[in-house]
Symmetry: C2
Subunit: 353 residues, 2 copies
């Protein structure tokens, strides 16, 4: 298996290092052979190669079975012109690899739930998966430009039927592996694209008779995520709605620093990254929380390599260290023990080897 | 002053009736003369005139100084083709009157804050105003259509510079009357329209030197509304982001049934409606909460008629009845007294006359 490592910016290289150690432990224990190739993306790529997404990074990712990405971005590049911004690297690699399905599982950890902004009785038991379409919609539709006189501007929300079909299929399948409830989120009372989206979901229903389906308007979903997060199992939605709702959902359980994500295409190739950002304020200090990156690595083992057992071992190891009270500075654990990135990783490794 | 009443569907006619009584009390006390014209919109207009927005409704609104709208929609029309859906009436009247500025104040009532899904310490003290652009963006951009073969679909997010300028001006002015902090929400790392939006906000800053300005990405704003709602004063954003964020924000304080809204244009003509829907399940039972409609009426007195004193009297009356413990079935007030629509209105009137 060929794995490309894209540490990126800020704490990216520190958490990628932790992920690598966890993978080394897994390969040793189970006799797998993974080969690693490290490449630049984001701000570091801008600094060293003048572009957020160098050609050799794209080529390496195209030949890989999976990509692990740390984080991109930082204040240093915030005022760059838009083609020289770190996130263009992220958008570019998603698009050029065709990673159309962004999976974001959000599940509270009992040790962290008290950090939730929500009342315990509201958030307790929430366990949801957001399936976001990642390579279409407003993010990539053309035209996306300003008029010559600078006085008007346009972006385009475009979808092809097959783009909707494949993400909806993905979401139905995800629901089948979970509690078999799918909420499709759209704005069908306003957008033509949402009407097609809703039609596709209705058509696909017959192929997944064991899944119950509900349609929700995006504004209603934004409310319900807060008032009744436990009502959701799998949510499927288009790119921009998914961006907003998945970030909204990410703060519900009080453990933003713990959330992994996977961006997949149908052949199993995927890019895995923590939901949190590059945290430039703590970069290089050895205090970053590596657990979201490690959990992203578990998702890689499961989704790209079909190593379910190994994925479970990594996930259980993370649960175990939390249960043992270890936590990094971003997490508030009662009577816990504060540790840095290296020590946290070592504790995870103890349960993996 | 000419006021058009659009009761609409569900509980709309009940709460409009309450608003009317409050206005009668105000006119009597202060010797104003308001003239009322009642017209159809939404589902009731579909049933009676075959269209959600009859021409005579538009004409009457065009001649009015202000419009009060109850609510539109209901399951009866949910499966209608899109031009025969109640919300088309709402979208149509906003657009044809040119009501580009949607103002949604969200402030917790001390008596209701315990109903918030958020922890008390998180939500306590929140008091924000969302200024949403209402006649542009994805809601009205062309093309918005499906291809002939049905396999692709497009919606358009379009803005003219002057459309952005006028809503940004409105938001700056609103901020000047409040805590002088403006958060402009966009997705400038992805959308061309957001880049122009951000530029306009930067240009306008100089005209409002007393207001501090912050830019936030829409995904970050969706998080921050939950984790730190008290950090916001005025939020300004484009139509679709505003739809999502204002509904998200509407559940924070636990008093969705209490929230008013105003949709304005620059000459002061406005449409005022409660944020809640038509609640078909309780329609006609005399139990609907009229307070959001009454508070919307206060906004009309302030924004369209510049009757600040009268507006304050109505708002204080609402606060008073809550303080006295009266509440409708949608509100949970400790040791309170449950009342219906009529009795609630009567209690408000006691403090207005
Ligand atoms: C960095 C940004 C372009 C990106 C997005 O909007 O997709 C991020 O918010 C995400 O959700 O991964
Ligand atoms: C009914 C619907 C079209 C409308 C909107 O999206 O603007 C509503 O959600 C609102 O916010 O007033």
């Amino acid at each position: 298996k060929q794995i490309v490592l894209l540490p990126g910016d800020g704490i990216g290289s520190e958490v990628i290092q932790s992920a690598r150690q966890v993978l080394d432990a897994i390969t040793e224990r189970f006799n797998h052979t993974f080969t690693y190739h490290t490449h630049d993306i984001g701000g570091v790529a801008i600094d060293q190669q003048g572009t957020p997404l160098p050609q050799d990074t794209v080529r390496a990712c195209e030949q890989a079975d999976a990509v692990l990405l740390g984080a991109v971005g930082g204040p240093k590049w915030d005022n760059n012109p838009s083609h020289l911004r770190p996130e263009k690297g992220l958008l570019g690699i998603r698009k050029s690899l065709g990673l159309f399905a962004n999976l974001r599982p959000i599940k509270g950890f009992p040790q962290l739930l008290h950090s939730s902004p929500l009342k315990h009785e509201v958030v307790d038991g929430s366990d949801l998966l957001i399936v976001r379409e990642l390579t279409g919609g407003l993010y990539f539709g053309k035209p996306s430009e300003r008029s010559h006189d600078g006085n008007s501007v346009v972006d385009t929300l475009a979808y092809e039927r097959h783009e909707i079909e494949r993400i909806v299929d993905n979401a139905f399948k995800s629901a089948q592996l979970r509690r078999k409830h799918l909420t499709s989120v759209d704005k069908a009372n306003v957008l033509e694209s949402s009407k097609l989206w809703r039609e596709v979901v209705e058509e696909k229903k017959a192929d997944y008779p064991d899944v119950t389906v509900e349609h929700q308007l995006v504004d209603a979903a934004a409310m319900k995520l807060i008032t009744a997060p436990t009502d959701f199992d799998v949510i499927v939605t288009e790119n921009m709605f998914g961006d907003i709702l998945s970030d909204e959902a990410s703060v519900l359980t009080g453990s933003l620093g713990m959330l992994p994500s996977a961006s997949l295409r149908d052949d199993g190739v995927g890019l895995y990254e923590p939901v949190h950002g590059s945290a430039p304020d703590i970069a290089g200090k050895g205090v970053a929380n590596p657990l979201a990156m490690i959990l992203s690595t578990a998702m890689m083992l499961r989704h790209s390599f079909h190593l379910e057992k190994e994925a479970n071992i990594v996930e259980e190891a993370v649960q175990q260290v939390l249960q043992d009270g270890y936590h990094t500075g971003d997490l508030d654990v009662k009577n816990g023990q504060l540790v840095g990135t290296k020590e946290m990783t070592r504790r995870v490794l103890e349960h993996v080897t």
